[in-house]
Symmetry: D2
Amino acid sequence: MDLAELRDRLRVFAADRDWEQYHTPKNLVMALSGEVGELAALFQWLTPEESAAAARDPELSPDVLDELADVTIYLVRLADVLGVDLLAASEAKIERNEHRFPRKS
Amino acid sequence: MDLAELRDRLRVFAADRDWEQYHTPKNLVMALSGEVGELAALFQWLTPEESAAAARDPELSPDVLDELADVTIYLVRLADVLGVDLLAASEAKIERNEHRFPRKS
Amino acid sequence: MDLAELRDRLRVFAADRDWEQYHTPKNLVMALSGEVGELAALFQWLTPEESAAAARDPELSPDVLDELADVTIYLVRLADVLGVDLLAASEAKIERNEHRFPRKS
Amino acid sequence: MDLAELRDRLRVFAADRDWEQYHTPKNLVMALSGEVGELAALFQWLTPEESAAAARDPELSPDVLDELADVTIYLVRLADVLGVDLLAASEAKIERNEHRFPRKS
């Protein structure tokens, strides 16, 4: 599955459940905030070192994967209802960052 | 550019600037929270209807694209340092959701 | 109970449980992000009108109170470990805002 | 100034500027998310030790105070439009937490 296929699958998923009425950009931004908050809650008491191993920790890993998936899903759905191409927007931003923060020589 | 190319480009970008030391999962989760907060700030006073047109509004659109790019960039970078495949995790989650919320018939 | 008493009670609560070691400002900012995310999740699919009645909705109200309490608790605890007086900082900010946004005449 | 006086002052501030129309709970939750995101951005690259000194750092301290004030202001305003007493809700929550997490003996 690539990002375009994920977008299409989420589009069908929402349509099949009659959820498009809830999927305004405003609501989806709130849903994204909620999921990023759950991700933050998983990492809040970890040391930097513990955080680096979070996806290999058998207790923590399923929740980390689950929250990363939820963040991805709402981000892709939000971009779709806004009509934004996430990869094109990201590429444009990296190019601006490459000029803004020149690499060490 | 696809998601794997974006991940690789961000990896090089961080290495070239000696920023890998800052890119612990814990720090990147906070950076992601910060960018989602900026996205929320763009939508906070909009009506649902105004939010639906945000990416076509000439004044708002550049900021919306910019923040969506920042969220995508930190999410992809976070998944990379955790060693998580965002598309595989999302596909697994959608399959769970398809069972959890059966489609209307 | 006033805000200073709440701060003192949270201080004792953390000390009694040996949790002060976890209560760095960085960790508490993440905890605050997590709780605000949970609050956002309660409101994400509500219309503006439904949101206005949320604290009177018998199903929603206990969760709204619970999340508002969690946000308050982490904010007060964060300010305490940073040594910041929230009311003084807020008063200074309102004064700046009163100059920045003159009232309609 | 105590919390009730802060609430009253914010109420007048909004009324004087005809901003009550924007201050639905849903919008204020998004504004709170935005400000907590700005707070997270200040702390994202700090070590735990640096974060502990953030309010004494002459460069960082004004921004930390400013963001803590913004979070407090939106939290108090949100509670007001919802008709929730933050101190009573927090006290009830601490009592539940004291039962849920018994102190070490």
